[in-house]
């Protein structure tokens, strides 16, 4: 399973390294979203800094949808999906590999967006490690749910419009928890302020990663 995970993740990341879709399209889109949020809120820096945690996570969610769409469309051409299915790779490994590739791209995006939030909105972070941990945990959950819904919607022609509708409400707890942890980190709170939310993220991750490992095979057969 682990060998297949590495193989699939390596494949997806190599495709990204050569096509640079996430780097040249998704990351700039995230920056555009941050700029638009600033226009919507007005030039008041205090308001922007206050809204920074939530806006960061909303931008991350939008980028997740794009990254997942890309991850699915990589397999949609030339019958690549059937190729993967016939390759004899472990479905659990396939799920973990695709999720890991999406997660790796999301982590880079989050670093860019976090930099943008700090620079553009003047958000001051007192406890940086809390933000790093919350981003990593949130990313695992987003990548796992995104990969699951991506596989489910793979064969559907109206995928582009259906996927965000299905995925974004499911990811709502990540947005809530991530925002609260950011707020705690900005207020200079201790880890205990964010710890129920960190636990919530851990539960979310564990549930969807476990579910993905179990049901990814059957999903592939039905799509």
């Amino acid at each position: 399973m682990w060998r297949d995970t590495v193989l699939v993740a390596g494949k997806d990341l190599r495709i990204e390294a050569r096509s640079k879709v996430a780097l040249s399209q998704v990351a700039p889109f995230g920056i555009v979203a941050l700029v638009l949020f600033a226009f919507a809120l007005g030039p008041d820096r205090g308001l922007m800094a206050k809204g920074a945690p939530g806006l960061f996570w909303v931008a991350v969610l939008f980028c997740t949808v794009l990254a997942v769409q890309r991850s699915v469309s990589v397999e949609s051409a030339d019958g690549a999906r059937d190729g993967l299915r016939l390759s004899g790779l472990d479905p659990a490994g396939l799920f973990l590999g695709k999720s890991a590739a999406v997660a790796a791209q999301l982590v880079v995006l989050e670093a860019v967006l976090a930099g943008g939030v700090i620079l553009l909105y003047g958000a001051k972070v007192e406890v940086p490690w809390l933000i790093v941990v919350s981003c990593l945990l949130g990313t695992v959950g987003l990548a796992a749910t995104g990969t699951l819904y991506g596989a489910l919607s793979a064969g559907i022609r109206v995928r582009e419009t259906l996927l965000p509708f299905l995925l974004l409400p499911i990811a709502a707890p990540v947005l809530l928890a991530g925002t609260r942890i950011w707020q705690a980190a900005m207020a200079g709170g201790t880890a205990s302020d964010g710890s129920p939310w960190l636990r919530l993220l851990v539960v979310f991750d564990a549930v969807y990663v476990a579910l993905g490992i179990v049901v990814y095979g059957p999903i592939q057969e039905s799509a």
């Binding site: 259906l162 299905l166 409400p169 499911i170 919530l200 549930v207």
Partner: protein, 261 residues
């Protein structure tokens, strides 16, 4: 010869089933009428909430159906469909019917809650934990229905929908706790409070209880009717293909005869 539309007769509903649906429907109407009469005319207004309290005879019942009954039924039927040993289109149709009727009850919950919230809290909508969970549940349900509308083979559609229902079902408790920590304003449970002793008495308690029964009966009746519609829809879907095939075959037969002549 033009083939008739009814290649196969639609799957018949047994007389007993039709009878049962009819009885449930009539009972539901009677129970609802009784609840309305008791709720609007017989019970007294509340000391603090006045006539507003009359919404309590409908709103909790509708919410119980929307948030627990319909949702649990959809989750369990989807799981039973995914379980290969119990896989049957019965569970798929039951889940679909339960979600569709559940959405109606969910919207009714939000509307009746808003009507109560405006005079009590002063706002139509508050970002309270229960309201927010209800809204998220509604959006998840709507996503499920949107997925079902995507044209697909019945068994593919059934599998996809069951997976989406499963993912949503495991999300609901997480959403519930996250918004609970996020915000809480809604008044505590009145009937099902932890020590299980209702905090209202007399005719009001009975009317409230009757409201639960009436709304549940309405739900069951709608569910059964929607299930039957699902059966007929599937019949039409496959039946149309049969009709089209026969028409093409009939055309072939005509040209053969012409050639022979």
């Amino acid at each position: 010869m033009i083939p008739s539309r009814n290649v196969h007769a639609p799957p018949a509903q047994s007389p007993r089933a039709r009878w049962a649906v009819g009885i449930i429907g009539i009972t539901a109407v009677a129970a609802t009428a009784l609840t309305v009469w008791l709720g609007l005319w017989v019970t007294p207004p509340d000391q603090s909430q006045g006539d507003l309290v009359r919404l309590v005879y409908i709103h909790p019942g509708v919410a119980w159906v929307a948030l627990y009954l319909a949702f649990a039924l959809a989750a369990v039927s989807s799981l039973l469909f995914l379980w290969t040993r119990t896989r049957s289109m019965f569970w798929d149709r039951l889940a679909a019917a339960s979600v569709e009727v559940g959405v109606v009850f969910n919207v009714c919950t939000l509307i009746s809650g808003s009507i109560w919230g405006k005079p009590t809290w002063g706002v139509w909508w508050a970002w309270d934990a229960r309201l927010t969970s209800t809204a998220v549940l509604l959006v998840l349900f709507l996503g499920y229905l949107a997925l079902r509308r995507v044209p697909a083979e019945p068994d593919v559609r059934a599998k996809r929908s069951a997976f989406v229902a499963l993912f949503a079902a495991v999300d609901i408790p997480i959403v519930h706790f996250s918004v609970l920590w996020w915000r809480t304003l809604h008044q505590g449970a009145t009937v099902l409070n932890p020590n299980l002793s209702p905090t209202i008495h007399g005719s009001m308690a009975w009317t409230l209880l009757l409201g639960f029964v009436a709304v549940t009966l309405v739900f069951v009746w709608m569910l059964l009717v929607r299930y039957r519609i699902g059966v007929l829809e599937d019949y039409l879907g496959t039946g149309e293909l049969d009709v089209a095939l026969r028409e093409r075959q009939a055309e072939g037969a005509v040209t053969d005869e012409e050639e022979a002549a």
